[in-house]
Subunit: 436 residues, 2 copies
């Protein structure tokens, strides 16, 4: 049986998981791939650090370039993260005619266009299944499984940390800050949780999904990103009462005016399957014109789930390594000559329904003022709840669900509402999607 | 752009859907595939029948052999169903060195071993994504997406008709017979619903999934099949009260003693995502040792969902048509030389938990007799509900949930229970799975 030799950049969580699976499932994997896949060289920052994997038989170095330059290494597997050094190393591997597998979403979302162009010029493949939704084969599903479809939209829970926090808030009635602290203690959230809770990580992944769905270049800088830090226990409860769940979704939709590309908290009907994806799990719902809705669910992070995707990519790369370039899947699903610039829709132009939570003085006439402002802007109300003021409080919470309206109109309405004398503080606004 | 010419056997629902999508999405598809895919020849039983698709530009015939033998046709797409003539035509296409795409689960489940052997001998591919779970790319996910994993088990709702019936029974509290009649009226169920409601269709699909998961030959004749016809409204309600849903599942699990291969009604905890897959939708849950659980959800039937899978297969076949054979995915996921005979576990040896509904005379001592019988056989009870007899009735329903026990022991216990004087009629037994 022929042997394929791979080099690892990074021996942390995912790198360690990759080594472990390749060892444990060596037989299963070679029965499928028809080749033996062996890690021959690996780079780690600190060789004395304790590892989750057995590195015997693997040449070790602290210099990742040693791995990239090793003539034995046929496929470079980049698992170090970041988009500075990782980018240089990946480009160097490509320049040497080596295939690359990476789990690095920031790298692909921000530098993928240049990386894929370099790879095509050299006739090599850069595979990145593990960059989106960890162990779920979502890149494969969209690029290959749904290739007959005109994709209409997709929506995903693509950050496990954020989903864990929202799930805990709902299950236990806890506040955002308390759950975040618990998530950090459990290792589900980083010490600096910004990437996760502000939606940047999700925006990286959404950027990649949108490109392969619609056949357009990666445009991370145009993604709209809003975090979950302002969501209160109250919002979670009100949503529940109205038959909705709050999820941090990445959404991309094709419209006549351009493609929507947005990450934000979203109310979705509780009967939708994706509304019931809880804890650290991820899921992506894809709407194709032929197939209709399909959903892909699984663990979006962790050593072995991510390594599962990395190794599947290695096997895919190995299969077509010696085949004509035409037999490989194009990097962004569409032939590079068929990739088209499509405008990303400005967030002000996006149309959604809204959940509004307004803290208002508990006196007659306030509701009339609110509905007047909305009515003047053509915003119609689908449902409303007025909550009694809590004991000792003078303000009541008014919850409104609106029909669809352009975001800029809603912004205008919210400005007008916030300037009313009877209104205290900011209006809480959460977008709603039916996903039906 | 190069052109690939395909021939269709069958121009009914799926055939018509295939023609429609290839026409409507011609540009999107060729932007992905890098080739134009054109239907040049199609066979239908009756050329005068009204069609859902425009057949202009397609040569039509009533003789499917004309299509298979047409030297222009490079890929034969078999959408006629049945496993007699279809088998002959597929083997004839293979003998002529043509690739085949089929949506025919009976054909693959029953004759796949011979068909794949013939295809390998000729160096052609037989693709069958559409044969399992319609538009969901589940074959691709298991064969390629999870290729790093030792698959431990999989469980699927893989018959839309059955799932529609069980969903309606639950939502509306209706009886099996009434819902079946409604499903027939809506076109979700055939005039002869045996294949669907008795689990034969699901067993075809499960047979295929089990082979690609575990690397063993197709063994349809060894699948255990039990339908949903005996499930009552009462069972659905009792399950609900206990926190469960009843689903018609296909389950295959690797055990030390062999592989389980079974289709039967199953109680699953309502919090599981798959318990919330309703109506005609399908879903497959796969447990891999590395990735953990992943779930794939979507429409399992219908013209365009099925055609979506057919066309994705055509695109896959086209991509590696001119590449070395090693670059193709092996038919049963594992290299044919690595396929191993694995015993299918006899149903008597399978261990599950059980739901039991027992109609018993409402008098003291009956419960003691029942628990004695179970206790003697080492069967322990997890939960129990005793229902008051309905007005004018003398019998009470006793519902029991048991811990795990071997099926043959449970059969023995049920025989003993049914021979008790206080027991009326048959004991209703439904297997339970935690799927966790």
């Amino acid at each position: 049986m022929s042997q394929v030799k791979i080099g690892l950049l990074g021996l942390g969580t995912v790198g360690g998981g990759t080594v472990n699976i390749l060892k444990r499932n060596a037989e299963e994997i070679s029965r499928r791939a028809g080749r033996e896949i062996t890690v021959v060289h690996a780079a780690a920052r600190d060789l004395n650090k304790p590892r989750i994997c057995d590195t015997s038989g693997i040449k070790l170095t602290t210099n990742p370039l040693d791995v990239v330059n090793d003539p034995e290494v046929q496929i470079v597997v980049e698992l170090m993260g970041g988009d500075g050094l990782a980018r240089e190393l990946v480009l160097s591997a490509i320049a040497q005619g080596k295939h690359v597998v990476t789990a690095n979403k920031a790298l692909i979302a921000k530098h993928g266009n240049a990386i894929f162009a370099a790879a095509e010029a050299k006739g090599v493949t850069v595979a990145y299944e593990a960059a989106v939704a960890g162990g779920i084969p979502i890149i494969k599903a969209v690029r290959e499984g749904l290739s007959a479809n005109r994709i209409e939209w997709l929506a995903g829970i693509i950050n496990g940390t954020g989903n864990f926090i929202l799930t805990e808030m709902r299950d236990n009635g806890t506040d955002f800050g308390d759950v975040l602290a618990e998530a950090q203690r459990l290792g589900y959230a980083e010490a600096d949780p910004t990437f996760d809770v502000e939606g940047i990580d999700a925006a990286h992944k959404l950027t990649i999904l949108a490109s392969i769905a619609f056949g357009m270049p990666l445009q991370f800088d145009k993604a709209y990103t809003e975090g979950i830090t302002k969501i209160t226990r109250e919002d979670v409860e009100c949503a529940e009462k109205l038959g909705y769940r709050i999820k941090h979704l990445g959404i991309s939709r094709r419209t006549d005016k351009g493609v929507e590309l947005r990450v934000h908290p979203t109310l979705i009907p509780e009967r939708r399957l994706i509304a019931n994806v809880d804890g650290v799990m991820n899921a992506v719902l894809v709407q194709g014109d032929a197939v209709g809705p399909t959903l892909y669910y699984g663990p979006g992070a962790g050593a072995e789930p991510t390594a599962s995707a990395v190794i599947a990519d290695v096997i895919d790369v190995v299969r077509t390594m010696d085949a004509p370039v035409e037999s490989r899947i194009p990097h962004l699903a569409f032939q590079s000559s068929a990739i088209r610039d499509i405008d990303i829709l400005d967030m002000g132009e996006v149309e959604t329904s809204y959940y509004l939570r307004i803290s208002a003085a508990d006196r007659p006439g306030v509701l009339a003022e609110l509905t007047q402002i909305l009515g003047d802007r053509g915003i119609s109300i689908e449902a409303m709840i007025q909550q009694e003021p809590a004991e000792g409080e003078r303000n009541a919470n008014i919850i409104m669900l609106t029909h669809k309206v352009q975001e800029k109109r809603m912004n205008d309405a919210i400005n007008a509402i916030e300037s009313l004398e009877a209104i205290t503080g900011e209006v809480m606004r959460i977008r709603m999607e039916s996903l039906g």
